[in-house]
Symmetry: C2
Subunit: 160 residues, 2 copies
Amino acid sequence: MTTNIHAGTDMSMSTPDLEQFRKQRLREAGLRATPSRLAVLELLDRSSVPLSHGEVVQVFRAKPWDRATLYRNLLDLVRGRLARRIDVGDRIWRFEIATPHPHDTSHPHFVCTTCKQISCMPGIDLRVIRSEDIPKAVQNQEIDVEIRGLCDICRSRSKR
Amino acid sequence: MTTNIHAGTDMSMSTPDLEQFRKQRLREAGLRATPSRLAVLELLDRSSVPLSHGEVVQVFRAKPWDRATLYRNLLDLVRGRLARRIDVGDRIWRFEIATPHPHDTSHPHFVCTTCKQISCMPGIDLRVIRSEDIPKAVQNQEIDVEIRGLCDICRSRSKR
DNA sequence: AGGCCACCTGCAACTCTTATGCAATTACTG
DNA sequence: CAGTAATTGCATAAGAGTTGCAGGTGGCCT
């Protein structure tokens, strides 16, 4: 769990220009730049892992924002294509910042079926062996690929 | 909700030998052959797609069986390795009959994010581009691969 | 600078799926 | 065919996700 937050200080204390940039991104997405939306966007910006609604609520538990508000903030960001909502198989939606450059989604995610740890697998690609009956979405890489198995830690632990 | 599953060739009218075979399978799994368990097992046997608990409840809504009973029936079948519980990413467990031959899971599954239809993709394999940080489970193919996207039908429908 | 109003928030309540405790019932064993 | 442990029915609950509504407010327009 590495938290290399650059500013090192409070979420709400980002430099004015970054804040302005976030406001701009929200408005370009057709969203008003409200305090909670700015904070959620900043949180996703800074997070190296996708966050669940519950985790976002936890992070902002000292703030006056309601869980429904944060929930709708997250959905708003997804609607405005500033974030993506993903499901890694543990029945909890997670939200991650949408990368500015289009379609970085093509790298698989590895999910440990025991500890639920998620890791990105840019070193793995799909190979089509036989092309009959391959959906067009696959051919066009408009897909999410999820690999489920035991991570090395849980794997060595389970080897009897 | 259109429900025309009033069984013409009724669920409960299977041939006696098939019924006996199912009873036998249940007992070999260490489970008593109760009416509801037999019916659930038969339903999974006959279904070509994985079914959720809610769908099973729907199918048997005319029967006197409680939803908790059907739920536990499904878990019992999984426990006895007569069925598998899978999660296709919509936070609803689905149950499918366990194939007799072991570990047929090595081919990817394609799941339509809209219609939830699942299809097998034996023509697709994983290719490791860079081998750093690849979990051993992946190297040893001890994994489930799930590809999520729009199936061709839903895809053409969504193209505006 | 100030007002307007559509968008946004807070609150409460709700759905849906999954899950469990307990008393009554029942499938199997002998 | 009775005894008993497994199973069921009912009630209930946790947890994530979702929504209706009344009141608040960001940002445009003057």
